[in-house]
Subunit: 326 residues, 2 copies
């Protein structure tokens, strides 16, 4: 089969098509013929040599795929050979075939194409766990999404709105802000033009956000604390601003704030399968009702993976970048 | 009535006996004739002018009392006039009479004297909420208590052990370590002689503590993070090391740690009453079964309040300092 490997750490040009053996599914696993796969920031970090795959994972990048089950054992999930599924994988998604634990597969929602299906897993698993399970966002509460126009951001906006929450976003341009508002955010802050601490405080009448979904960390944490409500939860899912963060322990106590975070990739199959079951019960119906749609920035042919990564690196995209095998 | 007031911010000598009117209970409140009352670190901060009473609270210090109900309305709680109760108060405890919301009263556990009863409320309410509710300590998990020989510490050790958890403490001398071990801690670290990060890691086989109860904050936070287990919870209840704290957001994510904290004094009557109900169902039977006993360092006559505060300031005490009216 064809797969995309990282020749050496570096710029997008290090990605190249290679010939690899088709992987074989073990017990509880299925083999998926990959029709489309999503590009995620961890793929970029892996390409740059900054994010080694976890033990046991393929050296081929790629965390989410959409395609049909061609072999293996999916009995526990009600899925069968021939079904088109969206799947969260621990690596190896940039290939024509990929092995995945059956519990991490979800049926392609009705009305969606394979490119849309490939744009779902990484963001919906991440948002579901971090915003709803870890952050315990409740209907009527205010969610602040840092980077609302990213793949994670566009998913977070739509899922939170479907859940009955109010959403504020930050984004880096007027066009990105407009895209977030169109998805249901009630307020969008262009972080190049306005301080988000002030803007969130003002928009919430001084109360602050109940949950903040943060991909920045670094010096954002202390600022986020100042616009986080009493009993507010700050959930960190990436450290684009660096890992060293400061906070005010007195303010944390007085407002009973919670600072937490998680990574998805290294979690167990059991954990990911449990998230998949929750998603199938809640988010999947929302998707099939049209209340949530993956926002796709661009679809590239898999052989144009270098351009796809250049697009990702540019930071110009709104929503997901997807690759497809033709 | 006699009460102890703070003449001006300063050293223990600023505390003086004064004559004040007996306060009158409002709806849902009871008047307690105070037999004994506990000394707490916030009293010291208030004496030094660093911790103003919250709006509506008495200027008289004192957060916990034990005495008999002499007037008021306690119908909802099953308590009656003449009952001896332990009560958490928002201030005004350093007096012969004190008004308290009925829901914040608990019956004096059988077998305990009024000095012991006065030593309970502040520590049991604080430990219950922060270790069990906020920190969600489970049986079999490891709790690290910073300052195990303090009033909070000795209560945390005993409640956690009664709950079936394992307890590690830090303390500042060999005698304090021995006192903690006698209360059921399985390991005590003299922080003057050993780095607690290494000691906790070693004692837990590299796993770390599941919950840390911290009164230090400041530069302790980053160190605590390094001996906090996967899914571990760091709960900050005081900032004796300063409010500016640093942490590693990458480590927080990888281990899915939770950093949180709270203050008790400013919480609502409804919140405190809910904690009281939980305590009555769980910790009160433990106390009556002898599985938890307030550890009392010294009992002073209320007129010797200056000496009591000097003892508190010395840091030599193990357990609670209590004052009584005679």
């Amino acid at each position: 089969m064809r797969a995309i490997e990282i020749a050496q750490p570096g710029r997008p040009e290090v990605l190249r098509i290679a010939e690899r053996p088709v992987p074989q599914p073990g017990p509880g696993e299925v083999l998926v013929r990959v029709r489309a796969f999503g590009v995620n920031r961890p793929d970029v970090l892996q390409r740059r040599g900054l994010y080694p795959p976890p033990p046991g994972a393929s050296d081929i990048p790629g965390l989410e795929i959409c395609g049909d089950i061609v072999a293996g054992d999916a009995a526990d999930t009600g899925l069968r050979i021939g079904d088109i599924v969206c799947a969260l994988v621990t690596g190896g998604g940039y290939a024509e075939y990929c092995v995945v634990p059956a519990g991490q597969c979800l049926p392609l929602p009705s009305g969606l194409g394979v490119e849309q299906g490939a744009a779902l897993p990484e963001t919906v698993f991440t948002v579901w766990h971090n915003v709803f399970e870890r952050g315990r966002l409740q209907p009527g509460e205010v969610l602040l999404v840092q980077g609302g126009s990213s793949g994670i951001g566009t998913t977070a906006i739509q899922l939170a709105v479907a859940h009955g929450a109010r959403v504020i976003v930050t984004a880096g341009s007027e066009a990105k802000c407009a895209a977030c508002l169109a998805l249901g955010a009630e307020h969008a802050i262009d972080y190049h033009r306005q301080d988000f601490v002030e803007a969130v405080s003002e928009h919430t009448g001084g109360r602050g956000a109940d949950v903040i979904l943060d991909m920045v960390a670094g010096d954002y944490v202390a600022r986020e604390q100042r616009c986080l409500a009493e009993d507010g939860r700050l959930v960190i899912i990436a450290v684009q601003g660096g890992i060293r963060s400061e906070f005010d322990a007195g303010l944390l106590m007085r407002k009973r704030q919670v600072v937490t975070g998680s990574t998805l990739r290294a979690r167990s199959v059991a954990f990911k399968s449990a998230v998949a079951r929750s998603l199938r019960e809640t988010a999947w119906p929302w998707i099939e009702q049209g209340r949530m749609r993956p926002v796709i920035d661009a679809v590239f042919d898999a052989t144009d993976v270098v351009q796809a990564h250049e697009r990702m690196d540019s930071g110009q995209h709104i929503g997901k970048i997807v690759l497809r095998w033709t």
